[in-house]
């Protein structure tokens, strides 16, 4: 059984103009101790997916229409708030895009880290020994991320730290307790290029030491190649291709992935300019069938009718495209 399995997930947002059908039947899974990459244009629904898994989606405006998020076979979407909290404390956690917004400006780093450890344990002693042990664990969690002078950082407030240091704090927060799964949503997008690489390698090393699984969402093919074993390509609310990272990068099968590889490796800007004509679809009235069909050079009549399921394409490689119906 997979550690995490998302089955046919449909999530949308109710906004002033109408209903945005964002996630459109997402299927994906992560095995124990697996490192999985997720790549997709901006706005394709990556953060929505992570927030749904962790049950922190703002509902409303968001609405989970249907689907399952199975953790060890148990549906997170059906869990009680109490079970969900237990899950976040001991099983899975996340790091998000913007480290400048991710820390509470009113409290010191030490306070925020200590509270996480206190609340992640079943029982916390009130004695001085326990308190000192917690502080020591916070300091070593900070040191593990490569943070200079962690003792001093404990009594600092977020505004006293640079973006890179704050992201290290976020990593320390996420990995201070032994979770089984880390969802890293573009953990370095807003950082200096020089620090990005350093932090990602540190993150990778820490996840490795703990034997945890990780989902790394990124716009960088370089990061994916270096740090992940398996890769998902996402387009407009669903997964279009998955397989071993090396395999997918070497021989992309889905027309969208092929366009992606031809374009620049970084997808942050205005969509994919030279690779694929057209823009990501409008979620108010998304294209029927395969959402990529208006931009696809191979589109066939069947593509307009129903979303294509995953078709196997050898060596763990699967593609959601009618070209591979065989």
């Amino acid at each position: 059984m997979a550690l995490l399995e998302v089955v046919d997930l449909h999530v949308g947002y109710r906004v002033f103009e109408g209903y945005l059908k964002v996630l459109n039947g997402v299927n994906f899974e992560i095995e124990e101790q697996e490192r999985v990459g997720l790549v997709g244009e901006t706005g394709c629904g990556k953060t929505t997916l992570v927030k749904t898994i962790l049950r922190v989606l703002p509902v409303p405006p968001a609405r989970i229409q249907r689907g399952q998020v199975l953790y060890h076979g148990k549906d997170i979407l059906l869990m009680s708030p109490r079970e969900v909290r237990g899950l976040r404390r001991r099983e899975m956690t996340a790091i998000f895009q913007d480290p400048l917004q991710a820390l509470n400006p009113m409290f010191t780093i030490g306070t925020q880290l200590r509270d996480i450890l206190k609340d992640s344990q079943e029982r916390v002693g009130r004695g001085q020994r326990t308190q000192r042990a917690i502080t020591a664990r916070c300091i070593s969690a900070l040191r593990d991320t490569g943070m200079p002078d962690p003792e001093r950082i404990m009594s600092n407030y977020p505004i006293q730290l640079s973006g890179g240091m704050r992201q290290r704090v976020c990593i320390a927060e996420a990995l201070s307790r032994n979770v089984r799964l880390l969802l890293a949503d573009e953990p370095t997008t807003n950082l200096d290029v020089t620090i990005q690489d350093q932090i990602l390698r540190k993150l990778d090393q820490l996840v490795d030491q703990r034997g945890a699984s990780v989902l790394i969402i990124t716009h960088s093919m370089g990061v994916v190649r270096d740090l992940t074993q398996r890769l998902y390509i996402m387009y407009a609310g669903s997964m279009v291709e998955t397989g071993r990272t090396k395999g997918v990068l070497a021989s992309p099968l889905h027309p969208y992935t092929q366009g992606l590889m031809r374009s620049v490796p970084r997808l942050t800007g205005q969509g994919i300019s030279d690779g694929i004509p057209g823009r990501i679809p409008n979620y108010l009235q998304p294209p029927s069938g395969c959402r990529f069909h208006p931009r696809c050079a191979h589109a066939m009549p069947v593509c307009v009718e129903a979303p294509p399921p995953f078709y196997p394409a050898g060596d763990n490689h699967r593609v959601a495209c009618y070209l591979y119906r065989s």
Partner: protein, 339 residues
């Protein structure tokens, strides 16, 4: 921090000096003869002239102000032409009664306002949020004296739960004055039952004063709770499994109460002016009633003193609020330290 407080105090003194000049001048140019007002209609012209001289009203404005200011430095604010007592004695008697009322009202509005605001914000769009919104709008739209009359009718006349007149029943001997706060003085004197009676007398006037502020502060807190609920860092606290009680009362409340604390200073000034009608309705022997009486009687020294007391209170409360905010918000604290 000390430097900041020093600067603010110096600023306040400067502003208060300006205020005293202004009110001193205005009190003298508004129509009406203070000497005549002090003596009444039966006084002869001679008596009035003598009174004018006694009050230095025959001297140039600057000289009058000089007399008054040197008096102030000696702690003498002159005599009230209406009560015929030193103004400082009057103030010592009336200010504590009003302060007790206003502080109690602030206490009520802060606690009730915060709690409803937090609940309404956390459970936004729930029935509780809707109900508290409705009551808030009613509370904001209804003048305090109308609330006072309604409260008297319901709780005093119909239900007979709380008294509606004065600070203590006439049969009860007041405790010796130490702070001027009836409840505190009774406690100091060791008369707990008197303190309770005094508290009961405080209840209705304080609630009538507080209601509008409960409504306002509740709305402000609700808005900032809702705003902060959408912040990434609250999502992160959740993602890391922080307990709900800690999340709400520590991580969510701290950033959310700052806007409310910031308006307390303004609320205080509003409370002082609003206290007049409430004091009238409840026959509360307070400062607001004294203030209006002195204005109506062109009681020069008392008028100037009254305005200054309000100015000083306003300056002090705002300084306290600023210190409190510095204490609550580390961002401001760090910026003030310049690091």
């Amino acid at each position: 921090m000390a430097k900041f407080i020093g600067q603010r105090l110096a600023q306040s003194l400067f502003v208060l000096f300006g205020l005293s000049l202004l009110i001193f001048f205005i009190a003298r140019v508004v129509p009406g003869d203070p000497a005549r007002a002090a003596l009444g209609f039966l006084a002869t012209q001679d008596q009035v002239e003598k009174m004018r001289a006694e009050m230095h009203l025959d001297k140039p404005f600057v000289v009058q102000y000089y007399y008054w200011f040197t008096g102030l430095l000696r702690g003498d604010l002159g005599k009230s032409s209406y009560t015929h007592r030193p103004v400082t004695t009057d103030l010592g008697q009336f200010i504590p009664a009003t302060l007790e009322l206003i502080l109690f009202a602030t206490l009520i509005s802060l606690t009730v306002g915060q709690v409803t605001g937090v609940l309404a914000g956390y459970f936004r769009n729930s029935w509780f949020d809707g109900l508290s919104r409705l009551i808030s709008y009613l509370g904001i739209a209804t003048p305090s004296f109308v609330v006072a009359i309604l409260l008297i009718f319901v709780f005093s006349q119909l239900l007979r739960l709380a008294p509606s007149v004065g600070r203590l029943p006439i049969m009860v001997a007041p405790p010796p004055t130490v702070t001027g706060f009836m409840v505190l003085d009774a406690l100091i004197a060791g008369r707990v039952e008197v303190a309770l009676v005094a508290l009961k007398h405080l209840l209705l006037p304080a609630v009538s004063l507080a209601l509008i502020h409960i409504a306002q502060e509740g709305r402000i807190t609700r808005t900032s709770i809702v705003e902060n609920l959408d912040k990434d860092y609250i999502t992160m606290h959740k993602v890391h499994g922080i307990r709900t009680s800690r999340l709400v009362f520590k991580y969510l409340l701290r950033p959310s109460i700052i806007p409310t604390v910031a308006v307390i200073g303004l609320d205080f000034a509003f409370l002082m002016s609003n206290a007049f009608l409430v004091e009238l309705v409840f026959m509360w022997p307070g400062f607001a009633r004294y203030a209006v009486t002195t204005m109506l009687n062109k009681d020069l020294n008392a008028m100037v003193a009254v305005v200054l007391v309000i100015g000083v209170t306003f300056a002090m409360v705002n300084l306290l609020v600023d210190i409190l905010i510095t204490f609550l918000d580390p961002t401001i604290r760090i910026q003030r330290r310049g690091g």
